[in-house]
Symmetry: C2
Subunit: 463 residues, 2 copies
C-alpha cells in the first residue's frame, strides 16, 4: 500500500514539474481521499491550491478533511473566498469543527464567514462543548423520523434528505425532540409492509451518551454494542447529535497513543512522530525525566546511609541493579495489566480487594521462582565459576530473600497505585513503569539492606 | 452503565431464586446482548440453560455470541441438539467460527453436526486460514450484485436476501466472481433513477485485502479509509468475504492490549484480567522476568569488575540508581514512541536514518538539561546540604557527564532496536522498557566507570 503511494507521489511530482495538469487530474480522481492527502503532504505548499483546484468538488472536500492541519491552513490561505465556500458546503459539521479547532483566529474567521448560516450556527454550538466530550466530536446531521410515519414515507424521506447526512444507516425516531427509538435502514428495507408505522419496526432499547460523556467512553460503548452510530442527548434528554463509528475508531487510536505516551513518562502530543521537531519531543519528554531524576534522590540517600556497610562488603553492590530491575519489571507488569483493564472498563475501584489478592498470589509464585533462580545463578556464576570475593551462601540467601520480598511489594504497589489514581480522578496511565520503578527502587534497597544487616550481623556474632 | 448492570444482576438473581421466570423474561428482552451476556456471567452455570431458554431465538443467539467461551461451552453442554441447531441457524458465519475456535473437539463436533450443510462448509473453509489473518476473521455473508442489474432490482435483491447478511450497507458488484466495484445502499437509495444500471453508481476505486493479510493491517486500512466493511480477495483476486467494522474495532482493541502486554514484558493472553488465575498470570509473566534477571548478570559483572574503585570511593555507588533509571526512562520514551508509530504505520524501516537523527537532536537537548539538573542537585543536596563524604565538584562533573552520554546512548538504542526488530520480522513491542532498560543499565555503568577512572585518576595525578 505504502509503496504504491510513493510511486504515485513521484509520478505526480514529475507531471507537476512538466505542468501536465490534465494527466494529474485523471490520476487523482482514481484515488481515495486519504491517499490524495498523503500525496499532497509531499508537495510544496505553494503548489497545493493549484493541485487542489484540479479535484472535483466532493473529492476536494473529502481530501481536505484528511490533510494535516498545517497543510489545511496553507491551502485555505491560498484559495479564494468562493473556493473556500464550496469546500465548506461539502463538509460535514463535525469535520468542519475539527478543522476550525486547529486553525489560528484569522483563518477561523474566514472559514465562518464562508460557511452558510446554519453551518456557522452548528459549528459555534459544537465548539462550546468541552474538549474530548461527546458533544465536541458529534455531528448534528442525522436522519430524523417520527413514530407514526409509515415505513414507505421513512424511506422516501431518507431518499430526499439523505445526501447531507453523515449516516443514513441508523435513523432516529423523535417525538417532541425526545429520542423514542432508533431504526436501521436494514429494518426499514426488510419490513414486510411499507404501510406499517415506523414505531412497529423501531428499536426502543436505547443506548445513548450525553454531550459531556468522555469521548473514550463513547467509543468503548459503541465497540461494546457494535454500534454504527450512537445518539448524543443533552441534560434534558433531548437529542442533539450522533457520533459515528469512523470517529470512534479515531478516538480509540488517539486515546491509546495517549495512554502509551503517558505510560512511558511523556506528556501526550497531538502531532505524529515524524512531524514533531526535536524541540517539541524534548518538551514532551523532559518534565517526567526531570521529576524522576529528582525522585531518585531518595534512592541515593538510602545508599549513602548504608555506605559503611557497602564499604565493608562491596560485593553487595553488584546485586543492586538486578534487584532493582527485577522489582521494576515485576511492578510494571502489574501496573500495565491493571491500567489496560481499567481503560477497557473491565475493572472498577470496587474490585481493588480482588485485584490485590490475585496479585499477591501471583507475586508469591513469581517471587519464589525468581528467588530460586537468583540463588542458583549466584551460587553457580558468582560463587563457583567466578569465585567472587565475599560472595557466600549467606549473601546468596540475602539476595534471594530480598528478591522474593521485592517482587511481592512491587506487584502490590503496581496494581494498587493505578486504581487509587483512577479513584481520585488522575489518569491511571501515569502510574506505569517509570513511576512504579522509582518507588520500587527505594523499597527494594530498604528491604535489601534490612536483610543484609540482620543476617550478616547475626552471622558475624555467631562466628 | 456498569452500576445499572449490577442492579439488574441482583434483581435477576432474586427473581431466579423465586423462580419468577416470566418476569425474568420480560426484563431480559429489554436488554442488549452485551448486557445480557454480562448478567449471565454472574449466574451459576447450571442455571444458564434455563435462563437462555427464556430468550427469543434471535436475542438468544446474539447474546450467545457476546458470552465468554467457558460459559458458551457450559451452555452448549446444557442445551439439547435441537436448541443448539436453532442457535446455529441464527449465527453469522464469522461469529460461529470464533466460537468453534475456542471449543474442545467434542463440542466442535456437536456444533458442526447441528449446523446446516452450507454453514458447515463455510466454517471449515474459514478455519483453514492462518490465525489472525483476514481470512480467519471475515464473514462470507455479504450482498452480491452484478454490474448490469438496475438500481431498482438491486434494492429488491437486498430486501429479499438482506436478512441473512452481516451488512447490507455496502454491496459488492461481481463479474465472474471478480470484484469490479462496491456500491453503498446510500448510493442506491439516493440514485436519481431506479432504472439506471448498478455500474453507473458503483465505486470502482477498490480497497481490498487478501485472505492472508494480517488482521491488524485490515483494521488499520478500514480505519484509514473510514470503511464500514472491507472486501477480502483470494490469490486469484476472486472475492471470498468481507470484514466488518465491529470486528475491526475488536481487532484493534485486542492488538493494542497485546502490544501493551508485550511492552511490559509479558507474553500476551486471550483472557481478561479478572478471569485469569494467579497461575495463568504467573505463566505469562515469569518468562521475561527470568530472562531479564539472567541478563542482569552482565551489569553485576561490570560492577564486580570495578569493585576496587567502588571500595575506594563508595560515594560513586549512591548515584548508580539515578543514572540507570534516567537512562532506562529516556530509552523507554524513544522505544515506545517508535513502537507506536510503527504499529500505526507512520514509520517504515527506510525512515531509520531520519528517526536516529531526530532522536540524537532530542537526546542532546534532554541530555544537557538533565546533566545540568543533575549537577545542580548534587552540588546543592549532596555537597552543600548533606556534605556527603567524598562528593566533590569533580564527582558531580563525572556523574553529570555520564548522565548526558547515557541519555544519548539510551535514545539511540531505544529508537533503533524496535525498527531493527520489525525489519527482521520480530514484534517491535518486545523492544520496550524492560529490554531497553537492561541494555541501557550496562551501557550507563560502562560509561560511568570510564569517566570516573579517567577524571578521578587524572585529578589524583595532578595533586
Amino acid at each position: 500500500m505504502a509503496e504504491h503511494t510513493v510511486t504515485v507521489e513521484n509520478t505526480l511530482q514529475t507531471l507537476l514539474n512538466e505542468k501536465k495538469y490534465t494527466t494529474i487530474r485523471d490520476i487523482l480522481v482514481t484515488m481515495n481521499p486519504a491517499d490524495i492527502a498523503a500525496v499532497f503532504s509531499g508537495v510544496e505548499t505553494e503548489k497545493l491550491p493549484l493541485l487542489f483546484r484540479l479535484l472535483p468538488k466532493e473529492l476536494a472536500a473529502e481530501s481536505f478533511v484528511e490533510m494535516e492541519s498545517d497543510e489545511q491552513e496553507a491551502l485555505i490561505r491560498g484559495i479564494s473566498d468562493s473556493e473556500l465556500r464550496q469546500v465548506m458546503d461539502e463538509l460535514y459539521v463535525d469535520d468542519a469543527v475539527d478543522i476550525v479547532e486547529e486553525m489560528p483566529a484569522n483563518v477561523v474567521q474566514r472559514i465562518l464567514a464562508q460557511s452558510n448560516p446554519e453551518m456557522r450556527k452548528e459549528i459555534n454550538e459544537i465548539l462550546q462543548y468541552p474538549e474530548n466530550s461527546a458533544g465536541s466530536v458529534m455531528t448534528t446531521e442525522y436522519v430524523k423520523l417520527t413514530p407514526k410515519m409509515t415505513v414507505g414515507d421513512a424511506i422516501l424521506r431518507i431518499r430526499r434528505t439523505g445526501v447531507d447526512k453523515e449516516t443514513i444507516y441508523t435513523c432516529y425516531v423523535l417525538e417532541n425532540r425526545l429520542l423514542v427509538g432508533t431504526v436501521s435502514v436494514k429494518s426499514l428495507l426488510l419490513a414486510q409492509n411499507d404501510l406499517q408505522a415506523v414505531e412497529t419496526v423501531m428499536d426502543t432499547n436505547l443506548i445513548t451518551v450525553t454531550t459531556h460523556t468522555d469521548q473514550e467512553e463513547v467509543a468503548r460503548t459503541m465497540s461494546k454494542y457494535n454500534l454504527l452510530a450512537i445518539p448524543v442527548v443533552d441534560g434534558d434528554n433531548r437529542m442533539v447529535g450522533i457520533v459515528t463509528f469512523d470517529d470512534a475508531m479515531d478516538v480509540i487510536e488517539e486515546e491509546t497513543t495517549e495512554d502509551m505516551e503517558i505510560m512511558a513518562g511523556m506528556t501526550p502530543s497531538d502531532k505524529t512522530y515524524l512531524r514533531s521537531s526535536p524541540l517539541e519531543l524534548f518538551r514532551h519528554r523532559i518534565p517526567w525525566l526531570s521529576l524522576l531524576l529528582i525522585s531518585a534522590t531518595f534512592t541515593g540517600l538510602i545508599l549513602t546511609n548504608f555506605e559503611d556497610k557497602l564499604s565493608r562488603m562491596v560485593c553487595l553492590t553488584a546485586f543492586i541493579p538486578m534487584l532493582m530491575d527485577t522489582g521494576g519489571n515485576s511492578g510494571s507488569q502489574s501496573s500495565v495489566t491493571v491500567i489496560r483493564a481499567l481503560s477497557l472498563g473491565e475493572l472498577e475501584f470496587s474490585d481493588l480487594g480482588r485485584v490485590i489478592w490475585k496479585e499477591v498470589r501471583t507475586a508469591i509464585l513469581c517471587g519464589l521462582a525468581l528467588a530460586a533462580l537468583c540463588f542458583a545463578k549466584i551460587m553457580v556464576v558468582d560463587y563457583l565459576m567466578l569465585r567472587t570475593e565475599d560472595v557466600t551462601v549467606t549473601v546468596a540467601l540475602v539476595v534471594s530473600l530480598t528478591m522474593a520480598v521485592t517482587v511481592l511489594c512491587a506487584k502490590i504497589v503496581g496494581c494498587t497505585l493505578p486504581m487509587l489514581a483512577k479513584k481520585v480522578g488522575f489518569d491511571p496511565a501515569v502510574m506505569a513503569s517509570p513511576f512504579i520503578t522509582t518507588i520500587v527502587d527505594a523499597l527494594s534497597l530498604l528491604v535489601y539492606f534490612g536483610f543484609a544487616t540482620a543476617m550478616l550481623e547475626q552471622l558475624r556474632t555467631a562466628l
